[in-house]
Symmetry: C3
Subunit: 158 residues, 3 copies
């Protein structure tokens, strides 16, 4: 299967997992040594490491989910992710190829329990994927938000 | 053609039909015995049948369109549907296969005649499609809205 | 590559260019004699030529970018384009085919520098593309906005 479709499908399952509230399964999209961060466009442009969220292992992502569950923030709202087409970085046509690099725009709507919906975040994923014969996993996902103002309620994964 | 692309294309035409205001053509996307319902995430989770809209035949959909036209609600606003990638349920690779089951996230923006735009609804379609050599039709579409608060103006098909 | 995928990819790069702020590269998506216009659904339906923006050459698009840069409007906000699936007009399966006609729904979110995000525009692209062995270029793009009220700040390309 071509890289574009692999990324499209992974992202579709990724969104489905989060938007369905199955947060415990979310870390399974990542490699054990994965880096995951959420930052703003300004910080990213200035190469500031200090993002909003930073994790450098899948275990840290699991810890984050546990914290979210204890804080019980998740019950108060749900998310709906909509993705654009991924832009796949050119790579040699080589069956041994193990890595896919891509960029995907996103839009996340937040639906509060009282029913109001608003645009929670827009931006892009800067991704590196590890693929083998059976699976594709995220090795690095840098979530670059367009807005400098991210709600401090930021709790659910982007 | 693979199931994913069939669903992508059907949904693209479905959105185009509604957003273009060609409501009389909308029932043609369904089989004669199709079920179509609109419900909320809470109701769906609790298996409550009482949704916002329920129809169990294509003729009921035609009746609904007639009622909408008479109420003249459609003139007051337009919709814009944006869909995510469908998640296709696994199925045997079998040319005789007649059914596709999938789930597709959606976002609908409503544009009022005075020009204001807002997020009207987000959610997902839970679909069963009937395919034959020439066509793909919707046999069942359950529209599960994320928000418990759906505007009572809900008139146009989702 | 099939027409659908060509259009999906061109639009992905098109969005990426604008949303990244690389406006100087935006005219490169067009043929030298391209027509580009932005209009409203009402004007389009009534066949009124008087749109919000009109250009009938790539050079006019370059002029427009220069004007935008001088006005320095771009610094005040960023955009995020999300596209739906293109609907490709039927055409003969013919390798010599040089033209693709399609329609693509879009949603554009505007993110102001203070952090607020809103739906800036929705609508559809009515496109004609010129393809040759190496490239696909836009020969005509009519941007039909759903809303009759387009912010007069309209500055960035849609």
């Amino acid at each position: 299967m071509d890289a574009e479709r692999l990324v499209l499908r992974l992202n579709a399952r990724y969104a489905h997992c989060i938007d369905d509230g199955r947060l415990e399964e979310w870390p399974d999209f990542f490699t054990p040594d994965a880096r995951y961060s959420v930052t703003t466009m300004d910080n990213y442009r200035d190469s500031l490491e200090a993002g909003i969220i930073y994790a450098d292992s899948r275990d840290m992502l699991r810890d984050r989910v546990s914290a979210l569950r204890q804080a019980n923030i998740f019950e108060r709202h749900v998310y709906r992710h909509i993705f654009g087409m991924p832009l796949i970085a050119p790579m040699p046509e080589d069956d041994e190829m193990r890595e896919i690099t891509s960029e995907t725009p996103f839009l996340v709507v937040r639906i509060m329990r009282d029913g109001a919906s608003d645009i929670f975040a827009t931006g892009r994923y800067l991704d590196r994927f590890h693929r083998d014969a059976q699976t594709v996993l995220i090795r690095e996902r840098i979530v670059v938000c367009d807005s400098a103002r991210i709600d401090t309620l930021l709790a659910l994964p982007l």
